[in-house]
């Protein structure tokens, strides 16, 4: 037999040859030291290749991926949230609990229902006790990693990919209200003065916490796409703080039981100005 080609030798090492071909290679290896050494090096390189990615299997899988795999977003999450709200009204009285509180609180409350549904996997777990037990969102590294990841996902998908949007792009919220996805007093931060158009919202689980990510785009290339994240938090208020994830700037803060973040490739100066606008709007709502 002629010295086998690399293709055949590798197929032999991968166990892909039939019995006859395998025996031929074994015979060849038995009396060809150089071929044997070559096969050993190929085997060694295969072990290295496998080892290079073994660590990934030992990493914990990010919660956002588990949520995505479970289909825990979109209408299902909203439906669970509404079911939870209905039960909460029974506990707290007939008056819808979000009336009279800021929009961020109302929205975060809606998300909380969806989140509980996910965390426990059953609607029974969506109780007020569970609500108190939740570890609330802050601005840890994972939280910032996740919101930066979601921002990139929006940007990659582009505005034509409506599959990512749980709440349709309707600046007044009327469409969303009509289909019962949002509380009646829901209002969006209006960022039109910054030439930012609201494209839609997504209901997320970040670090085990429900959150809402609002996605805006603009023709202004120096500003670029922007996402604004709202989540519940029991941590103390925090002044706006700057951070970065790769090419993204993040400005995050906590205020009156809520964690917020602005994410985008825009210059930090833009983010500061938009933060001032949003903070004013949320306080004014």
């Amino acid at each position: 037999m002629q010295r086998p080609s690399d293709e055949i030798l590798i197929a032999y090492l991968d166990g892909e040859l039939d019995k006859h071909e395998t025996l031929e290679i074994i015979k060849e290896l038995a009396h060809d030291d150089r071929l044997q050494a070559h096969a050993e090096r190929l085997n060694a390189s295969a072990r290295l290749i496998r080892a290079a990615y073994d660590e990934v299997l030992r990493e914990s899988v990010p919660e956002r991926l588990i949520a995505a795999a479970r289909g825990e977003r979109g209408l299902n999450a909203v439906q669970r949230a509404l079911a939870w709200l209905a039960r909460s009204r029974m506990v707290l009285g007939e008056r819808p609990w979000w009336i009279g509180v800021p929009v961020a609180a109302a929205l975060a409350g809606l998300m909380l229902g969806g989140g509980l549904g996910y965390v426990a996997g059953t609607e029974q777990s969506a109780s007020l006790t569970a609500q108190q037990d939740l570890v609330t969102a802050g601005a840890g590294a994972n939280w910032l990693d996740s919101i930066a990841g979601y921002h990139k996902l929006f940007v990659k998908a582009g505005t034509n990919d409506r599959a990512l949007m749980d709440v349709p792009a309707d600046a007044s919220g009327d469409a969303a209200r009509k289909v019962g996805q949002l509380p009646p007093d829901f209002r969006l931060p209006n960022l039109k003065p910054w030439s930012l158009e609201f494209q839609g919202a997504r209901l997320l689980m970040i670090d085990g916490q429900p959150a809402t990510q609002l996605f805006y785009t603009t023709d202004n290339k120096s500003l670029g796409a922007l996402t604004f994240v709202e989540a519940e938090s029991s941590k103390a208020d925090l002044a706006p703080t700057f951070d970065r994830r790769e090419d993204l700037n993040i400005l995050y803060w906590r205020h009156h039981g809520h964690a917020y973040a602005l994410v985008g490739a825009a210059d930090i100066g833009y983010l500061w100005n938009i933060y001032n606008d949003i903070a004013w709007q949320l306080d004014a709502i």
Partner: protein
């Protein structure tokens, strides 16, 4: 959509992340890719044929989404992961060296042509047979065989030296 479908998807996530990490060369991009693949899979559950391999079906979706993304934009590989190694770590030096060697392997794989990388990751890392890998990549078995051989030989040439010697000695010690 059945709960078992979601369960299968959750169970295969670690391997999808590993496959995606090999394709993209970036942890963040890999997770974005897996998330997009999960969403596409859930939207197309009716296309999965019971009795066929679920992991192969998901690998095919990950690969398709990745190709779509490659076409839509130029990939920007982050260097942050490499920078994270080295300074400031309190790992024993031998372990750091080993991790550096594995990073070298990842870097060598990252510069392989995309189709060779897919063949290598599916067969050598994920353990698919040539036939299964050919189905995922939608090419003939012979094409997988030649792409794989080119990838393996390119890596052998690049890694050569110390890394392989060390690996061979480890194997003999076992």
């Amino acid at each position: 959509m059945s709960a078992s479908f979601n369960d299968q998807l959750v169970a295969v996530l670690p391997r999808l992340r590993r496959f995606a990490r090999g394709l993209t060369g970036s942890a963040v991009e890999a997770d974005d890719l897996v998330q997009a693949a999960c969403e596409r899979a859930l939207a197309r559950t009716h296309q999965f044929q019971p009795g066929t391999r679920f992991d192969s079906w998901m690998f095919r979706i990950v690969q398709t989404v990745w190709i779509d993304q490659l076409r839509a934009r130029e990939t920007r590989r982050t260097e942050s992961e490499d920078e994270a190694l080295g300074a400031g770590t309190d790992e024993p030096s031998r372990r750091v060296e080993a991790r550096m060697a594995l990073k070298e392997v990842q870097a060598a794989i990252a510069v392989l042509p995309a189709e060779q990388r897919v063949a290598l990751l599916l067969v050598t890392v994920e353990g698919l047979s040539y036939r299964e890998a050919a189905e995922v990549a939608a090419v003939p078995v012979g094409t997988i065989m030649s792409r794989l051989a080119r990838a393996r030989m390119a890596l052998l040439a690049k890694l050569g030296g110390d890394a392989l010697r060390g690996s061979t000695e480890d194997a003999k010690a076992e």
